[in-house]
């Protein structure tokens, strides 16, 4: 694991994994995202923080291809804005949606298997499954339980595990800490850092700004559809404007 992360740091950290150029999202007359550009390097954790309605979720939905938008999105140098959501997942971008989106009448294992919907490589799927059960032993215990009967924290774990089952290179996480007790939030963030250490990049959208910025290597602060601040996670966490606006 350690050697793997060093490889990432030395050779791949300068590779641009995702580049967003002048992204715009409109809902009717309202432009919710007003021309945003940012980059995610391979192996990074990037946080997008901002208040309610700043346009964070819209950005993630646009990248995943379920929301029409203007501008350009490049993944590993390839434009993806014209692809459908299924093709984008196949390329290696998976989203953990806000509210988790667990399929309540399917079992934990069926939820996980669903993410391998269009894959035929049974061996690799089994290996994937073992990997996420290692990360989340609690899901392994509950693999036959219906998704709807899990607790909030377990559902969040399932949502993350399910996204990992797509073999994503980039995870988009929409408010992973929402509605969870502080203890659980810490556990989730610890696991997210573990996932990152194995080479998966994370784009983290959070209202819980301090938590996200501390975990992130870099961050962007959004206000009403624009990026107003940009810097390393530490810098932003200590920035007076951020402190005043989001941390109280």
């Amino acid at each position: 694991m350690t050697s793997n992360s060093q490889i990432n740091k030395s050779t791949r950290l300068t590779d641009i994994l995702l580049e967003v150029r002048d992204l715009r999202v409109r809902y009717g007359h309202i432009e919710a995202v007003q021309g945003i550009s940012f980059k995610i390097l391979a192996g990074e954790i990037v946080a997008l923080v901002g208040a309610n309605g700043a346009g964070k979720s819209s950005i993630l939905r646009a990248i995943s291809g379920i929301l029409p938008f203007g501008g350009e999105v490049l993944f590993e140098g390839q434009p993806i804005q014209r692809l459908g959501s299924a093709a984008i997942v196949a390329l290696g971008i998976a989203q953990v949606p806000e509210g988790r989106g667990i399929f309540g009448t399917l079992t934990v294992k069926e939820n996980l298997r669903l993410a391998t919907w269009n894959r035929r490589d049974r061996r690799a799927i089994t290996a994937n499954l073992r990997h996420v059960f290692d990360l989340f032993p609690r899901l392994a215990e509950r693999q036959r339980q219906l998704g709807g009967t899990l607790s909030g924290g377990e559902q969040q774990m399932l949502a993350i595990a399910r996204a990992l089952m797509t073999r994503a290179k980039l995870l988009l996480l929409d408010e992973p800490s929402m509605g969870l007790a502080p203890m659980l939030v810490h556990e989730i963030f610890r696991i997210l850092k573990d996932i990152n250490r194995t080479g998966t990049s994370l784009l983290l959208v959070e209202q819980n700004a301090l938590m996200a910025l501390k975990a992130a290597s870099r961050g962007y602060v959004l206000e009403t559809g624009r990026i107003v601040l940009h810097g390393t996670g530490r810098e932003l966490a200590d920035h007076p404007r951020v402190k005043e606006a989001y941390l109280g």
Partner: protein, 321 residues
């Protein structure tokens, strides 16, 4: 393992019965006919349940697809294929009816699934009306008078075989890995898309399977009643199928079988009441919705329609770090 044997034996017994009953006149012709209509109703209810129950969409065009299948297969046996030809004539006609209905289903599904929400209900309603008035205006198939002279080729073994086949295919589709996309779409369409499920393709595929079996049911129906007219396939026919699905329970194959059985039996039992039947049936439905809004077996199923338990994959207890 045990379960497979039980199911196999049950099917074998059913097949033997379906052959023996007409052969040795074990039941009077009226009961025989009722049993055969029951089989057709099971096919109709199970296939509509795939769309309205499992997929969570709302289609009201099932009678239209049934009509397409009925006319396609009847035209084949009455006009195109010589009478008394080989044994494959009837299964071929039924297959053709199913395929015609599935193709029409594709044509309906492509525009209907472009958008979300209630469009499917409106598009399928319009489709059913178009089919009916088109058939009324084509003189070659009898126009409003209907198509006569269809042979009574639907025998009990055939209907039994097609019923088993449709239940088997739909059950396997729903619980296959690609088919689980259907359940995911019902639960949370956006989340399904985010997991890489090609929701449009899954929906269109499910819709085509459902229309195929509606067409098959139509073909069997035409060769059982030996007469079809556009009026048979109007909106009340769709309503009957909807009642079977919601009576038995959405998202449940066992439910569709129970619903179709109860509907068929009730319809026959209430026949002496004449017009009052039209009052009692809806009243029963209202009562059912009040006390069991999800139908008799809503979202549950008999264990033998659920997938057999996969061997649990325990991760290794200790993991070398």
């Amino acid at each position: 393992m045990n379960r497979h044997w039980t199911i196999g034996l049950l099917l074998l017994a059913g097949a033997a019965l379906s052959w023996a009953i007409p052969r040795y006149e074990l039941l009077n012709p009226y009961l025989q006919a009722t049993l055969m209509y029951l089989g057709i109703n099971i096919i109709l209810a199970t296939s509509l349940n795939l769309i309205n129950g499992y997929l969570g969409e709302f289609s009201v065009g099932h009678a239209g697809f049934m009509a397409v299948g009925a006319y396609a297969s009847a035209i084949l046996t009455v006009m195109l294929l010589p009478v008394g030809a080989a044994a494959w004539r009837f299964p071929l006609a039924i297959m053709a009816g199913g395929c015609a209905a599935a193709l029409t289903g594709l044509v309906v599904a492509i525009p209907a699934f472009r958008t979300r929400g209630d469009y499917l209900a409106i598009v399928t309603l319009a489709f059913a009306m178009i089919v009916k008035s088109a058939l009324e205006n084509i003189n070659a198939v009898g126009g409003p008078r209907g198509l006569l002279g269809i042979e009574g080729l639907s025998t009990m073994p055939w209907i039994f075989a097609w019923t088993v086949l449709s239940v088997w295919v739909i059950r396997n589709f729903v619980y296959s890995n690609p088919g689980r996309g259907v359940l995911a779409i019902r639960e949370d369409e956006v989340a399904a898309e985010l997991m890489g499920v090609n929701t449009r393709r899954v929906k269109i595929r499910a819709f085509m399977i459902a229309s195929f079996f509606a067409g098959v049911a139509g073909g069997l129906f035409a060769h059982l009643l030996q007469f079809i007219s556009p009026r048979i396939f109007d909106i009340t026919k769709t309503t009957d199928i909807l009642v079977m699905v919601y009576l038995g329970g959405v998202g449940s194959i066992g439910g569709s079988i129970v619903g179709a059985s109860m509907f068929t039996v009730l319809q026959e039992c209430l026949r002496p009441l004449g017009v009052w039947r039209m009052v009692i049936m809806p009243l029963l439905l209202v009562l059912l919705m009040l006390f069991r809004p999800r139908g008799i077996m809503g979202l549950r199923d008999f264990p033998w329609f659920r997938p057999s338990v996969e061997c649990p994959q325990r991760p290794p207890e200790t993991h070398p770090s």
